[in-house]
Structure formats: structure tokens, C-alpha cells
Symmetry: C2
Subunit: 352 residues, 2 copies
């Protein structure tokens, strides 16, 4: 199996990986119940890269479902500037697919020393991160063989969704999200073949593209950021994501016919802000890729990669990221790169 084949298999294997997680929903529920018994005054999260995009998702999810405010916290403040990492009554969460990221593990250990309750979310059970935590949420999607994270990203979102459902909605909330994830897995499986065909055509059109901007607003901002990273690390694109509203505060100047805008649209009150960014991009002559469950509502898109509406809007990001993962793979192939082995990268990032 080539590197491309491994990555493709991991992308397509995500629905089955989510189903596998449901078998352990009771474990997630027990952690969530313990946390909800003494709701945290503040949630601090430390993570890098793809795991940091899961933290962006957590910021929307935990606030909307549990009323918990999330800070994507600075690791530098405690590790380099001598500031306390956290305080009693707070929940500190470290997210790392391998569980081996040194500064995330060091930060979580510091937060525990400072009296916070600590939670590790990782696909690496028995890792340094897990050892530093009071509670461990095992993502449990099995070993990820590609360097670019795909199933560990959506698996982390699924674990967070289960956690928030139980912490904010009790056992009934957990049951509803288990059903929602099952339906999301079915919807993803049904949608993947057509998405893959659409993305292959788009990759051919974008083979000479070297820059792209991505926008979203609300919870799909996590999706835009994660797609930007996949396109960067797998297809070497200069891709940058931002809030649809922030685009007007400068970056719109960089749009032009050779620099597309990718807009991830949700069918909710955030849609007008995303539609306005698309309008501005069209004025600038930039081609527009519309994706997400409300892709069809964006007028003037050059390409549309709609993803199924999720049974629960907070589960939509598991589906919305799929076309971005696929495009990173196909665009790398269109450029003659090996999407399974991006240059200069290691699977476990050991740099402090």
C-alpha cells in the first residue's frame, strides 16, 4: 500500500472509527459525570496543530452545551514566564493524538500541581500526557499510520461531543449524541464516494494554486483551520483560515484570481457573515469553493462541496472536514507529491 493509499484508507475509515468509539461511550460518560459533579470555573486547553483545532471546536461545544468558558491557553506563560498554569476549581485539558507532545504534557503536569483538575484527551493511552492527568479520555480510533492526522482529529471531536453531551445533558444527552454520531457515520459513508469524485475534479483545477484563504464563522471555524493545515502539510499550500468577519480586516486585499477563497457554511445565524465574505471574494475576482452543510446557500461559488446536514449542528464539523482531507490528498497527487509522507515532518513531534 502506498502512502496515498494509507491516507485514503484512514480518511474513508473515519465513520467506522466513530462507531468503534461508541462502544466505549460509557467510559466517556463516567469521566463527564465526574467533571459535571463539580463544574469547573474555567476550562483551559493546551494543544498544537490539529489538536489545537479540536480545542477550537471544544471552545464552542463546551460553552454552548455546558456553559463552560474555554481558554486556549498559553503554554509559554507557565513554562517560560513562571506564571501559575491554573487554579483550583479549574479544568485543564491537554489534547495530543500521540500523547507525547512534550510541552503539552509538561503544561498539564504544571496545571495539576497548581490544583486544577486535569484531563488528557489522546489516542495514545499510556502516554506521558495520560500519565500527567487525573482523567483520560481515550480517543480510541486505533493507530494512525499517516503522518497527517485525519481520524484522530474527527475522533477527538467525537470524544469531545460525547463528553459535552453527558456533562451538559445527563444520560439522556449522552444517548442522543450516541445516536447522532451513529447517524453522522452513516451520512459520512454515504457521502464520501461523491465527495471524492468532486474533489478529484477540483484538485485538477487547483494543481497550480499555491495560496488559499479559508473562512467560516462559529463552530465551523475549527473546520476551516483544520482544512488549511491539511492543505499546508500534505499539499504544501500557503493556506490560512480566519473568521469570515476578520477577512475584511486586511486579508481580503490578498485575494485575486489566482488565490481562491474556501468558505465553510453552516445553516444558522452565522451564514450571512460567510455569505458576505464570499461576496467580497467574488468582487476581488477570487474563485470560491463553498463547502459545509449550507454550501448550496452561498451564491456565486465556483465549486461546491456540500456535506450532509448533521443530525445535531454541533456534530457537523465531523462531516465538514471530509472534503478538505480529501482535497489535501488529491491535490498532493495532482502536484506529484507523496501525501502519505510530507517532507520534514515526524509523526510524534518531540520539539519542545
Amino acid at each position: 500500500v502506498t502512502g496515498a493509499g494509507v491516507l485514503r484508507a484512514e480518511i474513508h475509515g473515519q465513520p467506522e472509527a466513530w462507531r468503534g468509539q461508541l462502544a466505549r461511550a460509557g467510559e466517556v460518560g463516567a469521566v463527564a459525570a465526574a467533571l459535571a459533579a463539580a463544574p469547573p470555573s474555567l476550562v483551559r486547553i493546551a494543544a498544537h496543530g490539529t489538536s489545537d483545532h479540536a480545542a477550537v471546536y471544544a471552545g464552542y461545544l463546551l460553552r454552548a452545551r455546558c456553559g463552560w468558558t474555554v481558554v486556549r491557553d498559553s503554554m509559554s506563560l507557565p513554562l517560560y514566564y513562571g506564571v501559575r498554569a491554573a487554579a483550583p476549581g479549574e479544568l485543564a485539558i491537554g489534547i495530543s493524538q500521540s500523547g507525547q507532545t512534550p510541552d503539552v504534557a509538561a503544561w498539564l503536569a504544571r496545571a495539576r500541581q497548581d490544583g486544577a483538575t486535569t484531563l488528557a484527551i489522546t489516542n495514545g493511552e499510556g502516554s506521558a500526557l495520560a500519565a500527567a492527568a487525573d482523567h483520560v479520555l481515550a480517543v480510541g480510533v486505533g493507530p494512525e499510520r499517516s503522518i497527517a492526522a485525519t481520524k484522530t482529529y474527527t475522533g477527538t471531536l467525537a470524544a469531545l461531543a460525547l463528553l459535552a453531551a453527558r456533562a451538559g445533558g445527563g444520560p439522556d444527552g449522552l444517548d442522543a449524541t450516541v445516536r447522532g454520531l451513529r447517524r453522522a457515520a452513516d451520512a459520512a459513508e454515504a457521502a464520501l464516494p461523491a465527495l471524492e469524485r468532486a474533489v478529484a475534479a477540483l484538485a485538477a483545477a487547483l494543481a497550480a494554486t499555491d495560496r488559499m484563504y479559508l473562512v467560516a464563522r462559529g463552530v465551523e471555524l475549527a473546520t476551516a483551520q483544520e482544512i488549511a493545515l491539511k492543505l499546508t502539510e500534505v499539499a504544501y499550500l500557503g493556506a490560512k483560515a480566519m473568521s469570515a468577519t476578520a477577512m475584511a480586516h486586511g486579508p481580503v486585499a490578498a485575494l485575486e484570481p489566482a488565490v481562491p477563497l474556501w468558505a465553510v457554511a453552516a445553516p444558522d445565524a452565522t451564514l450571512p457573515a460567510v455569505a458576505e465574505a464570499v461576496r467580497r471574494a467574488r468582487e476581488a475576482g477570487a474563485p470560491v469553493i463553498a463547502s459545509g452543510p449550507a454550501a448550496g446557500a452561498l451564491e456565486g461559488a465556483t465549486w461546491t462541496l456540500a456535506t450532509p446536514a448533521a443530525p445535531d449542528p454541533m456534530l457537523a464539523p465531523l462531516l465538514s472536514v471530509l472534503p478538505g482531507q480529501l482535497l489535501a490528498l488529491e491535490l498532493a497527487l495532482a502536484k506529484g507529491l507523496d501525501p502519505g509522507a510530507p517532507r520534514h515532518l515526524r509523526k510524534i513531534t518531540s520539539a519542545a
Copy 2:
């Protein structure tokens, strides 16, 4: 005066603008004393673009100096998802150079309704944002005529530095920061001519560059993000900033001889992480621009744009951003663009 001339004058006028702010340090001190009398349980900040980079700075500054945790908060959660914006006992800060950014003003008004203490930081006194706030911190650097923000950025940093100094260190702290800003203004004025010459040579070398990555760690992360935005909006570069450690989690794959890395280095415990990112970039064959007060400590840099050591490390970002502002201007000129009037942009961003 051409657009380039206006932008150049505003960049060079920053030291004098900071001195002008010191005449009103007493007003800032009074606001800070009022806030410190009932320290906030949490600080929430909403801002876009350049103002959001000032919020990144505030996250380090207010935690290090006052022990206050800062969330760069989601505006979407209250404005689109119906979640409460804030709670009593919290401090909500809206930052906008014009004070006219609609969603920042709407968010601050919502936070006030929800019982938080509210603070507007703006160069637009009498603006919608100021009207929505309990307290106003007037940046007071005079009208900014260029579309790209320069003196309102460093002026906002200076106002924040005075606020944190008084809130965390009392009247003596305020006096020390007044003296520190005066010395920073002198140091900036002394350094600008040589920086301008070095940047002009660099701009000629980079005229064909269309992508760049920027890294820093700790408080200079605000600088890296702001330089990336200046290069994007004025010189249409695909520039993206990230933590030096996050670079190894994916984006390092996009580095190559045509894609430089700009590293902003501070002379503190964050330096090894930045040096490691530079080492990885050199391995990838990417040219390296080293800047910041510890630029000289980064081995293997292709170009070095050192800025003076600040009297107080928390004031260094006012100086560190100068070469980025200058490069945006010179690179636009080298590319035949008008740096005073970036395409598609408006000075006051009205998009919701």
C-alpha cells in the same frame, strides 16, 4: 504626499505618538485603578485583525502583570448562538481602532447587559464602541490616514502596557512604565533609519516571494501575527504566523527555498523554541529572516533585522513590529503596488 508617504510618515511617527500618550497616562491610571479595586475573575476580549493581535499581547501582559486570565472570546457564541456573553465579576474588553466595528460593539453591549464590567480600547473616542462601555481607554494617537493600521496598533499596546502597569503594580508601576515607554520611543527613533535601510535591501531580495511563515513564542507571538497581517494586506503576501512549536506540527512541510521563515526572537526562556524552528527551516532549505531583540542569537539566519532591547521585556513588541511594518511598505513598492491604498479594503470595516 503619496499613499506610500502617508504610511511611511505614520510608521516613523510612532515614537512621537507614544510620547503623546504619556501626557494622558493619568487617565489610563484612573481606569486601571478602578478595575484593580475589584479584580476581574476573568477578562474577555473581542477584536478583529490588528486589534486582535493587540488582544494576543494583552493575554500575556495582563496575566504576567496582574494575574488576570484572558480569553480572546468568540463573538459568535452570544451574537449567533444565544449564549450569555459574560457574567458579573468579569471584565469584557472590546478593541477597535475606529470603534465602529459592528460586532465588537454589539458584543460589548451584550457583555454589559450580562453584568460584566466593560472597557472600550479605541482610537475613536465618541464611537459606538466607546458608547457601549463603562470605561474607555482612549488610544489617542490622532487620526490614522493609512488604511493599514500601524500607530493605532503600537498605540494600543502602549495603552495596555500603562493599564497593566497601574493595575498590577500601583502608582510606582505606572511611573516605571511611563519611563519605559519614553525610553522605548527614544530607542525606536534611533533605530528606525538603519532598520529602514536594511529592510529596503531585504524587500528587493523578496520581490518575487509570495508566501512566508512567521514564528515566535510567548509575547512576541503578537508581533509575528501582526507582521503577517501587514505583509498580507499591504504587499499581498500569503503570510501566516504561528507559535514556533506549532510549526513542527505540520506547516514545516510547506517550507522550501522559495518560502522564507521569519522568526521573532526574544532574549528569554522562549529563545530555544524559536532557535529550533529556525534550525528546522534551514534543514528545509528555507531562507530565514531573524528579527526581534534576540535576532543575533539565531544561528543561520539569512537576514537579520535586530530591534533594540526594550527597557522592559513586555514593551519589546512595540519595537519588534517596526521592521515588519517597514517591510510591508517597501515590499509593496518593490512589487509596484500602492502601499497606502490596498485593494478591496476600507478603513472602517462595516461588515457584520
